[in-house]
């Protein structure tokens, strides 16, 4: 089963290495990892998507909590959180027709074109992982040159906060 875990850590050098090395060392898997500033200065929020049953999730949470620089660990269940991922997709465009077709497609699924070139279009899509996957499939036939994905980030719904 997939889990999305939010980890609030002290913004110290090497903290990301500590977190990722723990996953590696204890044979926990990382499907995606995203890190950035949180609402509080000096605290970084890491979002990790991982696989495993309840026991593994419990161990991951406990082992993460043991890291001195880790302040809070929270599992964010799908039903009660908002999840997003951003993808940049570069698609090759060989003809005007093709380009129009892609642009219509993008409008239909609320993407943005962020770069245009004679030979290529770069598209920005945000959404859940599933939504992005579905759109990638649609674009495949045009010839995808490059993809860059951020990995999932998430917040719980409502006014709850991890850091009190």
């Amino acid at each position: 089963m997939k889990h999305t875990i939010a980890i609030l850590v002290k913004d110290t050098p090497g903290v990301l290495a500590r977190v990722s090395s723990l996953f590696n060392r204890r044979m926990f898997n990382i499907e995606s990892i995203a890190a950035g500033h949180s609402e509080k200065k000096g605290i970084t929020r890491i979002t990790i998507v991982t696989q495993g049953d309840e026991n593994i999730l419990e161990q991951i949470t406990k082992q993460l909590n043991k890291l001195i620089d880790v302040i809070r660990v929270r599992d964010l269940p799908k039903e009660t959180s908002v999840e997003r991922e951003l993808a940049l997709i570069k698609v090759s465009t060989k003809s005007i027709n093709q380009r129009t077709e892609i642009m219509q497609l993008i409008e239909a699924f609320r993407g943005h074109i962020v770069d245009i070139d004679k030979q290529a279009l770069t598209i920005e899509i945000t959404g859940t992982e599933e939504k992005i996957n579905a759109k990638l499939k649609l674009l495949e036939s045009f010839g995808i040159l490059e993809i860059s994905r951020t990995g999932k980030i998430a917040l719980s719904r409502g006014d709850t906060k991890i850091l009190k």
């Binding site: 090497g14 090395s21 419990e58 161990q59 406990k62 082992q63 909590n65 043991k66 890291l67 001195i68």
Partner: protein, 558 residues
Amino acid sequence: MRLSGTEIVVECLKKEKVEVVFGIPGGAIMPLYDTIYKKQYFRHILTKHEQGAAHAADGYARATGKVGVCFATSGPGATNLVTGLANAYLDSIPVVAFTGQVISPLIGTDAFQEVDITGITLPITKNNYLVMDVKNLASTIKEAFYLARTGRPGPVLIDLPKDVQNAKTEFHYPEKSRYSGYNPTIKGNLNQIKKAAKAIQESKKPVIYAGGGIIASNAAKELKNFVDKTNIPVTTTLTGLGSFPENNPLSLGMLGMHGLASANIAINESDLIVALGTRFDDRVTGNIKRFCPKAKYIHVDIDPAEISKNIKINIPIVGDVKYVLSKMNELIEPKKEIEWLTEIAEIKQKNQLEYKRDNILRPQYIIEKLNEITGGEAIIVTDVGQHQMWAAQYYQYLHPRSFITSGGLGTMGFGLPAAIGAQIGCPKKKVICISGDGGFQMNSQELVTAVNNNLPIVTIIMNNGYLGMVRQWQELFFQKRYSSTNLEGSPDFSKLVEVYGGKGIRVTSKDAFDSALKIALSSKQFMLLDCLIPPEENVFPMVSPGEAINKMLGVNQS
């Protein structure tokens, strides 16, 4: 007061009441060594290898309960600490290591003697620090000592670039250390404790399984009170030896792979296991799927990650076992399961340790004799292997911190340097290092350290000419193909020690051992007994890997 980085280090160590540091100087840590030379706040023991320094700090910590401290230079000095830190980490021993580092502008350039020691030690330290600004140094040291000794103890490393050692700043040592992400639970949840007390009251065949956590939290007295009240038999792990007096009728001795048959059989029959400061290690449980099929579990540990890690726990209590036990002692009603205790007495009676009591100098005899003569009052330090198991089985441990051994990591070469640390920490105690001819040669350079510091350690080498435990496995599971386990060509260790300036006796018979031991125990100088034992003596009982712990080799099971 403006101080340099190295002056800050020694002032902080003074505040932390550090009495001794083990280490070796080198390029990147020279400023610190210069300052300790000038200040003379504490004793410095020069070991001959940084691994020796780390193990000595570890042995010192185990023997005294204080934080052990070691110094090493950058690069190879730092990497030589690695085994010692891993050893302390796996047995949860408080150690603080300081390493020199190349000057900060050179970090990352593969400079001379540069390694990323915080990266290397990341998974084997409780935490580590690369101090890049001298302003953070004092608070980092405060935090390091606090982390090393509180919660589940462990080693902490501080890496100090040479320019940070020399840089100056205003010195202020913080009184308290509080960190948002670190707040160990000490007291334990009262409802859980009540639940546990109830389960104990209702159980018919309870067994206490006590580990190194009892010793780490100085809870031996609370454990004794608990047992006096509840009459629950106690088995201990290897690192838990000494947490409960083994001359008590309720002591079952050590359990596990080479545990006593009585302990393994008793726990297997149990309906309630009270696990105290321990972590269900594979060497204890054997095949975990078949571990104690009839039992429910209470587990007290300060580390929440140990709860239900290896085995599902029915009543978990996260807390310091000392606090939890004293609370439990208030709540619990006196209890005595006569039938169970009769059964236990029978199990103990039927399953005594056995070996061939003939005229040959056997390792089991050596330990029995040692026990008889010292009356359980010595500090026994071991290396790793067969001799370690014999020392665990045949000596009767009465006090916490009287058995010092590398449990989790199983580090050969630990014995001698750890004995040095223990003897320096406990100058009035008789420290006995029991080693094998294999392990001893992994850190025998520390003979100089021991002799030079006039440490009256008695070292007993159980010399069987083999890497004995590996040979035993080859005999039992590899059809006697003794691949690279013969230690042919080893020196006469009694002569080797004399070259270093100590005293040595080669012992080949029981009588000779008896008299040599008496000489050694009354000696004021370092003494080594090189004891030639039968090459193919095996450690029994033994639970084969993958077996349930009540299925033992070398035991007559009726």
